[in-house]
């Protein structure tokens, strides 16, 4: 195991799908010519076929099947009793950014903690631009030979070296803010469990700090957003990181919005608001209309919690570099830029798709600007908004970020099918983005926590593997290494 400040390696354990019929890329038919010869069990390397007793098979574990490129069971079945076809449902699953392959491969990693079998794309989507056309450029031979356990994936979050906590996280990844209300408690606690296991963080979002999160205080970021819902002095005092959410990339210029239907009595009680009414957060902080107001805002947090690290989350308008440098001068430790791809179901489509700069443009813009200003090594740059895969993380870092925040990827790990019903009320069919009392009981935090631990474990292994090929001892060496990227075969110059 690599050096990433973990006391013990988070245990990967199987966390299979909650559903009897998990959606898979391939469907396998076994007809009645089967003679129970077990040949299929013998030839399948992916473990799709399992025999139960002498004369029956379990239902094929279709999601493990690597498909027609293998076809071993079909070809070698003496009775031609097996057929493998592409699941027609796949066409309906996902979208250009989150392709069905990415969803399925994320599920696979969340279940097993390992890379999916051949045939499932786990690095890029099919958007035709951005991270989907960027490639990591590996040297033919790594400049230095490294063993896996020599490679560190951890990053420090306090680069000001001031009196605030010296926080270092085990992976260059932490969990994004999702409020109690936008998601349910099993989701929130699962995220917290994974954050603790990987010595990283999760974030409260703007819905308060549920008492069941208290055991995870050292791994929770309290978000202070414009509605100040559920923000109290004790929620600021009990954590190591406080995040100001000025804007989010999915809907810059709009505040948070909890649909009335999601504002259940439990949620309303946490926010001390009136149940059943839609809760809007104002677009700006009413107390912050300038950088000096912001500085005062930061000072206030430090008056309550002098050792808190301060993160400033902003969207990516064209002058995001100015915002970043302003945050630096206002003594933020972390500047968190949230690009346009991410976003909750509740963000209006018109906003999600049309405002803010894609994150792959914003990262180098901010990174280079901070460098030119001579302060790049004094602030941690975190990127979010469309980080789906381990490869996206690596690309974001090579573009200039220190680390990333993920949101949708976590939801997918919990078997989100990206149906986008989160915007239409309490009815998340998968029980993730809901506080409905029946729907939320579909899973418990042990399961969700394990799924996320597994996903991060797989990502960790990929980071180590990539760094090894690049000959880098630490993920920190990769920051801003544009030369390690190419755009569909075109090298990117400069460092």
């Amino acid at each position: 195991m690599s050096n990433n400040n973990l006391e013990s390696v988070p245990g990967v354990a199987p966390a299979p799908s909650r559903y009897r019929n998990q959606i898979s890329k391939y469907i396998i038919y076994r007809n009645d010519r089967c003679i129970n010869c077990s040949k299929c069990v013998e030839v399948c390397k992916a473990g799709v076929h399992q025999q139960i007793g002498a004369s029956s098979f379990s239902r094929p574990q279709e999601h493990k099947c690597i498909g027609v490129s293998c076809n071993a069971c079909v070809d070698q079945c003496p009775e031609k009793a097996l057929t493998v076809i592409i699941n027609p449902m796949i066409e309906m699953l996902g979208d250009y950014r989150w392709t069905s392959d990415l969803i399925l491969s994320t599920w696979y990693q969340a279940e097993t903690g390992k890379l999916p079998p051949d045939g499932l794309e786990y690095c890029i989507g099919n958007s035709g631009g951005g991270f989907d056309r960027l490639r990591i450029k590996f040297p033919e031979n790594p400049p230095i030979e490294l063993k896996s356990d020599e490679i560190s994936t951890s990053i420090p979050l306090n680069r000001r070296n001031d009196n605030a906590h010296r926080v270092e996280i085990g992976l260059p990844v932490y969990g994004g803010g999702m409020s109690y209300g936008s998601v349910g408690l099993s989701t929130i606690l699962g995220k917290a469990r994974a954050a603790k296991a990987w010595n990283t963080f999760t974030c409260t979002g703007e819905g308060g700090y549920h008492a069941t999160l208290y055991p995870y205080d050292d791994h929770v970021i309290t978000q202070v957003a414009t509605g100040l819902f559920g923000v109290r002095e004790d929620t600021i005092k009990r954590v190591k990181i406080v995040e100001f959410k000025y804007a989010q990339g999915a809907k810059p210029g709009l505040g948070g919005h909890l649909l009335g239907d999601k504002n259940t009595p439990d949620v309303a009680a946490m926010r001390e608001a009136v149940a059943g009414t839609a809760l809007f957060s104002p677009f700006p902080f009413h107390s912050v209309y300038s950088v000096e107001d912001h500085k005062k805002h930061v000072d206030w947090i430090k008056a309550m919690n002098p050792k808190a690290l301060v993160s400033v989350k902003v969207s990516t308008p064209t002058d995001v570099d100015m915002v970043a440098i302003g945050s630096y001068y206002a003594e933020a430790h972390i500047i968190h830029i949230d690009g346009s791809y991410g976003g909750t179901g509740a963000a209006p489509n018109i906003a999600k798709k049309n405002i803010a700069m894609p994150i792959e443009y914003a990262i180098p813009k901010v990174h280079n600007f901070l460098k030119a200003e001579g302060v790049r090594d004094k602030i941690t740059l975190i990127a979010s908004g469309g980080i789906r895969t381990a490869h996206d993380v690596v690309k974001a870092i090579a573009l200039g970020a220190d680390g990333v925040v993920i949101g949708t990827a976590e939801m997918v790990a919990l078997e989100c099918v990206r149906c986008a019903n989160c915007e239409s009320g309490r009815g998340c069919p998968r029980g993730i983005a809901t506080t409905d009392r029946e729907l939320t009981h579909q899973f418990d935090p042990e399961w969700s926590g394990q799924r996320l631990i597994n996903l991060l474990s797989s990502w960790h292994d990929q980071f180590v593997d990539i760094l090894k090929k690049l000959g880098m001892k630490s993920v920190q060496e990769l920051v801003g290494r544009h030369d390690c990227l190419e755009y569909e075969g075109v090298a990117i110059h400069g460092k």
Partner: protein, 871 residues
């Protein structure tokens, strides 16, 4: 007639424009900068530059030391060794030489061929700029008192078809255009920068540095330079490692200097608006375009000040409807024509101006329509008259403090502090302090709002002269006898009732005696503190003495009592109830011993924020066992009461003097009493506890609060209670600027939820009796988008109208409502002496609660979906 020339003047500027850029280039790129600290004052006598010092230092946390500047208007000609006539008539061109070699070239190209120079000199500077903490050497500045040569001017008039124009106006335009050419030649915003014009108005100067504003005063040795009007600006630029003073405020029109706090969203639009009128900004900041718009409206279009203010901060919504019809017509035209030149966003302008045409100096403060920036105005009208505007009250108090140290005719406390209501029909969001010649030794002084309504204080009351020594009054013996027999409350009543008749000397003598008594033992000390706190907090008849004068004496008395307290190095058993700590002795902090109960914190030398802020000391003291605090000597130190944590019931903090922002934000259980006006962002996310303010409160009061009981004697500025939830219970005896309880979500007030009681009253200045304000709530937005809670407004004349509510509804106050309100009104009566009985009297007739109060509640229609009730 000026307007005939407006077009010609605009045409004459055509050739100044940079014609290389056509279309929509990124020519309006702006430099990033945030809000800033701004302050300005106008005084009937000229005062020294050093008095802009203290407020500037106190505004450091509104700037970052990367740009500061000052402007001054109205000088003594002797300072320059010139005649009054030269000072009045000549333009004073000040050129900053970034490249010291450029002087000769500047003179050759831009001064000597066109101007008759009556006098010129270099501004003297100190030798070593680093000595005063500057990192970048400020430019040398040369000054020229000039008139445009006659032949040059007539050629200019002829070439530009300006024949018939007032010669002075034509000369003004020449100076303006000449400056523009000079700046373009010597100061390319994106290239080489060698020299630029700091100011060119008559009887006014601007100086700016890469540093703090007061360093400009120090470096250019302006400490003893006297002027009638001063403004200062601390800038907060956030870009670039190398700065130059060109981007710092103030910026010039012709005879005006403007500083600005905030920024606007439509910089591009305003720049385009100017460009269409042949005006091209050169310094890439929104402040420059602001003053260019002002100058355009003023000098080119010849608008009166009221219309200029209207063009900058339009009157909207309900306020517009309440204007007289003829004003509506004019304003509508102004808005239609100039909407694109109207800065949109948060801003506060302070303008120092030599209105040479009318032989007067002016200080103007204008706030934006939405009132998004903090702003305070103040007035002191004693032997000397002074008007002040600033981004924070403590900057105002700092000016008065600094002035009163030098000249006892100035006093520590202003007679009147107030906020402007941006874009309103009431005051127009702007106030103008005008100084003119009245033949006397001092200048004439008038404060008026946008509409010309004069604001003044009671002329029949006077300030004390503290330089006179105190004499025992005739009735000394009889007063002394009272001291011996009365309880604290009786004594307070006695003092309160007699103050009306006493002269200042008697009151000062009483105070002096009281201090001696207080020092005898702890019991006395407690009583005296209580008596003087009551005298400070309550309103009563002060006779011919100004309340501010009484308050000044009370303040000094309390300070004496506090300062006489022993520090923590003493342990004196039973007689040591009070202990004092200050910044110097902060390391003496320890747990309370023996009978020690009250920690007195002198906040004066603590920093406004950060580790050396008194709020940190208070948290440490609380953690080591202290529960009762008296904090005084504030100069705007922030965060008082923050950080003590959960369940702080039993803790009490009494706050005196100029307390700062974010006071009581986040508290859970403790009680804070603010004995005076309070600042911005109070009680944010407050969970529970009690907050009492014996004065006004600032912007975004109780934003996102969850609970607590709050009592405010005076008014509250903009955006109080926004996004508050849970169960806050608030009594506001005055009113609010606007946006009260927007998105209020505080449940059902009859069922444990929150509410605001809005009384809409104020105290008359002289007698200490309360009277109704013109309306309980002047704003256009009341309880907008609220989904819970209620407002109980005292509105017996039904002045509130449906148009002010956006989503709310009027309802009658029921018996149940009154039962919920009653305990809070009773406490309000106990705290402020505002009796429920009197509140229910309308025009001399006692009425029922439902006839006096109206309830504003959530609209029944608003429930979007039904939800399951709690199991």
């Amino acid at each position: 007639m000026v307007n005939n020339f407006a077009e010609k003047v605009i045409n004459s500027r055509e050739r100044l424009k940079d014609d290389k850029v056509k279309g929509m280039p990124d020519r309006w790129q702006t430099e990033a900068e945030g809000g800033c600290g701004v302050v300005g004052f106008a005084c009937s006598v000229p005062v020294r530059g050093r008095h802009i010092f203290e407020p500037s230092i106190q505004m450091h946390n509104r700037g970052n030391g990367k740009g500061g500047g000052i402007a001054a208007v109205g000088f003594n000609p002797k300072h320059f060794g010139i005649s009054q006539e030269t000072l009045d008539d000549c333009y004073l061109i000040q050129i900053a030489l970034l490249d010291t070699e450029s002087r000769a070239e500047v003179e050759k190209d831009c001064i000597l061929p066109f101007m008759d120079v009556a006098h010129s000199s270099m501004i003297p500077t100190i030798d070593d700029y680093q000595e005063i903490g500057l990192e970048v050497k400020p430019p040398d500045v040369c000054q020229y008192f000039v008139r445009v040569k006659e032949d040059v001017l007539s050629r200019f008039i002829k070439e530009n078809n300006l024949t018939g124009m007032d010669l002075r106006k034509a000369e003004d335009e020449f100076i303006y255009q000449n400056t523009f050419k000079l700046n373009k030649q010597f100061y390319a915003s994106l290239g080489e920068k060698r020299a630029f014009v700091l100011s060119h108005g008559r009887n006014m100067i601007i100086l700016k540095v890469v540093g703090y504003a007061e360093q400009a005063v120090q470096y250019y040795q302006m400490e003893d330079f006297k002027a009638h009007v001063w403004i200062a600006h601390q800038r907060y630029p956030t870009r670039g490692r190398l700065w130059h003073p060109g981007g710092a405020h103030p910026f010039i029109g012709l005879n005006e200097a403007l500083v600005h706090n905030g920024d606007f969203a439509n910089y591009y639009s305003v720049s385009e608006y100017l460009y269409q009128r042949n005006i091209q900004p050169l310094f890439l900041t929104d402040t420059e375009v602001s003053v260019l718009v002002f100058d355009l409206l003023n000098r080119t279009y010849g608008y009166p000040l009221e219309y200029i203010i209207e063009a900058l901060a339009p009157t909207t919504e309900l306020d517009f409807d309440q204007l007289p019809a003829e004003k509506q017509q004019i304003y509508r035209h102004i808005q239609e024509i100039h909407v694109h030149g109207s800065p949109d966003g948060p801003w506060l302008f302070i303008i120092a101006r030599n209105d040479a045409e009318n032989k007067r100096f002016q200080l103007i403060g204008i706030t934006d329509t939405a009132m998004l920036r903090p702003q305070v105005f103040a007035l002191q009208e004693g032997e000397i008259k002074i008007g002040i505007v600033g981004s924070e009250k403590q900057a105002i108090d700092a000016i008065l403090n600094s002035l009163s140290k030098e000249d006892k005719r100035f006093h520590l406390i202003a007679d009147k502090y107030w906020n402007a209501r941006g874009g309103s029909h009431t005051d127009g969001g702007a106030f103008i302090f005008t100084l003119d010649e009245n033949g006397g030794e001092q200048k004439g002084f008038v404060c008026a709002d946008k509409f010309g309504r004069v604001i003044k204080t009671n002329e029949n009351q006077t300030h004390p002269d503290l330089s006179i020594s105190i004499q025992p009054p005739q009735q000394a013996q009889s007063i002394k006898e009272r001291f011996a027999v009365c309880s604290a409350m009786e004594l307070f009543e006695y003092l309160k009732n007699n103050l009306k008749e006493w002269d200042y000397n008697t009151f000062r003598w009483v105070c002096h005696e009281m201090v001696n008594i207080a020092n005898e033992n702890d019991g006395n000390k407690a009583n005296i503190i209580e008596i003087f706190t009551l005298l400070n907090d309550k309103r009563y008849d002060t006779g011919t003495k100004k309340r501010s004068g009484i308050l000044e004496i009370i303040k000094l008395t309390l300070h004496e009592v506090f300062e006489a307290t022993k520090d923590l190095s003493h342990s004196d058993g039973e007689n040591g109830k009070y202990k004092l700590i200050d910044f110097k002795r902060r390391n003496t902090l320890r747990a309370p011993r023996d009978n020690e109960q009250v920690l007195i914190i002198n906040a004066h030398d603590f920093t406004p924020e950060g580790e050396n802020c008194d709020s940190h000391l208070l948290v440490d003291a609380y953690n080591s066992g202290w529960k009762r605090f008296i904090c005084y000597g504030y100069l705007g130190q922030r965060f008082c009461g923050c950080g003590l944590g959960l369940n702080t019931q039993g803790v009490r903090i009494d706050v005196y003097d100029s307390s700062g922002d974010y006071l009581a934000s986040g508290i859970d259980g403790l009680e804070i009493f603010v004995h005076g006006n309070a600042q911005d962002q109070l009680g944010q996310i407050m969970k529970s506890g009690k907050l009492v303010i014996y004065g006004d409160a600032g912007q975004t009061f109780m934003y996102g609060a969850k609970g607590g009981s709050v009592y405010i004697l005076g008014n509250v500025a903009g955006r109080p209670m926004i996004n508050a939830v849970g169960k806050p219970r608030v009594v506001i005896n005055g009113t609010c600027l606007d946006f009260l309880a927007e998105s209020f979500m505080a449940g059902d007030p009859l069922n444990g939820g929150g509410f605001v009681i809005l009384n809409g009253i104020e105290f008359d200045e002289t007698q200490g009796k309360f009277v109704e304000q013109p309306t309980p709530y002047p704003g256009s937005n009341l309880f907008s988008l609220a989904s819970g809670g209620a407002i109980y407004a005292r509105d017996p004349h039904k002045k509130l109208v449906k148009a002010q509510l956006n989503g709310g509804e009027f309802a009658s106050v029921t018996h149940d409502d009154w039962q919920v309100m009653l305990p809070y009104l009773q406490e309000n009566e106990r705290l402020f002496g505002i009796s429920i009985e009197e509140l229910l009297v309308v025009d001399g007739v006692c009425k029922e609660p439902e006839e006096v109060y109206r309830k504003i509640t959530t609209s029944k229609k608003k429930v979007i979906v039904e939800v399951d009730e709690e199991d």
